[in-house]
Symmetry: C2
Subunit: 350 residues, 2 copies
């Protein structure tokens, strides 16, 4: 039986701070009554939100600090003045072993910079990747990197494959995930050198994954793979573009059902099905992106999510902690580096 | 009054060849009765399709050739054996002044390689870009590059801005188009060096456009700009991802309306609105991507489109020819290169 989990929360992160973090924790506690919480932040601002959740009060400890990293702080600013911030302290709790994982809805750049310093990166990893969940016709897939790295060497793309596979095992419970490499054109003659080299390595070696070769952007949503690997610039653009297209279509659907009284009636009759459609795409269900490649679990929640969305981010961390993802990934990466050798992994200037 | 246009068509290109090209030309002729067509390809295969379109027969001349570039030929193979191919000859008709523009649904890589050789690139341009039309909540925007270039220097991104603006003037009839630079994060501290440098140039100079700074992937579909500029790897992935997301949502909508007898009735009542939604996203309406930066107009049609889609691609070429896009773009690029100077435009190795 696994030990009860302690979760470290940056209570001040995100657009709404404790007004979302506290009720989010309450939802997570309902799902997993054994959880304990460390809430880092301004006690006077956290306490009023706790009042509505007596069960949570019993399972929580507030660690007061006045210092907060602002959403608009540059990573360098955050680092200079942020070592007593709720963000830094919530990471430190994981590093010290006081918590099993941390969640923050705060400043992504600051979280990345601090997580690297506090949790440190795994052996051979320069910079973690950010992974996310993507709704598909067949369920959910993991896409990474979503913007932590701009450009990626073949070695980094191969590392992302291992990281994404580790997350798929933890979150999707697929022991041997199908992994695809995002490219333009499915013919092997196409694509950049780094992507082609990563393709060759993933094909030639046994890494405990089902490698399915190149995939194109329109195949992500079909669920052609459990893990989609891409460098961070294109990955971030793909994710945002998919979100934008979904919103655009939702606006058109609303318009279609308000175009006439008959259409409005049609919408009423189909409302159960339409609500299911809305639920399927609900971004709150897919909230929570782990930083992979760190010696500890740090989850980034969207800054503008609500309590339900924040609870999803906690769930991601919980699944990862349950599946002992750090130990497994660390040994997978060591095996990868052993197979490919040091010289091949040398980073370019990108 | 503009002169009647002559259009050069690669009748053998695409999945269906003349079975799509010929009826596509017939639709274009209905829209613009003054058009003339040069049909390059196998006369024995073209003629049977012409029989159903007597008006088109009168306005067409078949230029017979047996040689065809196959969809799976590599550009180098196509170049070696393709100088008598329908693709090459249809480009040559534009270069010789026998036609105002050409359209092919054939092999993209071969079309690119041959177009560079036959039409040649504009002064200072190494490689053309491929542009496309993207449906938005506010109408249509132009996105480029869609994959002709992998990676782009700041100078190339700035050139893409000029090329996209020229296309927006021709197709969207907007004299001073809003141009955005696709990036990850809207803060100026984010993004790669090339994108940041292009941003600075576009801000500091007057290029006859309304520069609106960085845009993110989710803003494309909102119609925040008339032209979206991005290097070809991320641009191709963004386009394909949007197409995939639209298909995914269409599948979910169909499911929502077949989930129960009541929902089916609802779908029937809303069918006018739903059909309008389908029309809005119909990829055939947005078919036809010009290669920009060439001394001549070459339009790539999707290889799998039908006659209606092929007619859209002809329409794109027609609008571009009407607006004298080549002359205008050529002088805009000269002005750009004059402003930015040669050294700044030096290409990187990417």
């Amino acid at each position: 039986m696994p030990a009860p989990r302690t979760i470290s929360l940056d209570a001040m992160g995100g657009d709404a701070g404790p007004a979302v973090v506290v009720p989010g924790a309450a939802i997570a506690l309902e799902r997993h009554p054994g959880l304990r919480f460390l809430l880092f932040g301004n006690a006077a601002r956290i306490n009023p939100h706790l009042e509505a959740h007596p069960a949570l009060v019993e399972r929580s400890r507030i660690v007061h600090t006045d210092a907060v990293v602002e959403m608009r702080d540059k990573p360098s600013q955050a680092l200079r003045r942020g070592r007593s911030s709720s963000l830094w302290l919530s990471l430190e709790a994981v590093q010290k072993g006081d918590a099993d994982f941390m969640v923050s809805a705060g400043n992504t750049g600051a979280l990345m910079a601090m997580a690297k310093l506090v949790l440190t990166t795994m052996r051979g990893i320069d910079r973690p990747a950010i992974a996310g969940q993507w709704p598909t016709l067949r369920g959910t897939c993991i896409v990474l990197d979503l913007g932590a790295n701009i450009g990626a060497t073949a070695g980094q793309l191969t590392e992302f494959a291992m990281m994404g596979a580790a997350m798929a095992r933890a979150i999707l419970h697929i022991e041997r995930p199908r992994v695809g490499l995002l490219n333009i054109g499915v013919e092997e003659i196409k694509g950049i050198e780094e992507v082609r080299q990563a393709n060759a390595w993933l094909k030639e070696n046994e890494f405990g994954i089902e490698y399915c070769g190149f995939v194109e952007g329109d195949q992500i949503g079909q669920g052609i793979a459990d893990v989609i690997v891409v460098e961070g610039f294109a990955g971030n653009i793909a994710l945002k573009t998919a979100e934008g297209t979904a919103k655009q279509m939702a606006a058109w659907i609303r318009e279609a059902f308000s175009s006439s009284p008959t259409a409005k009636l049609g919408g009423l009759l189909a409302q159960t099905g339409l609500r299911a459609l809305k639920d399927r795409m609900d971004p709150r269900r897919f909230n929570g992106g782990p930083f992979l490649g760190l010696n500890g679990i740090a989850i980034k929640s969207h800054g503008g999510t609500d309590a339900l969305g924040f609870a999803s981010a906690i769930e991601v961390g919980h699944e990862m902690a349950e599946s002992r993802v750090i130990e497994r990934l660390s040994s997978d990466l060591d095996a990868l580096h052993g197979k490919l050798g040091e010289p091949q992994r040398v980073r370019g200037s990108s």
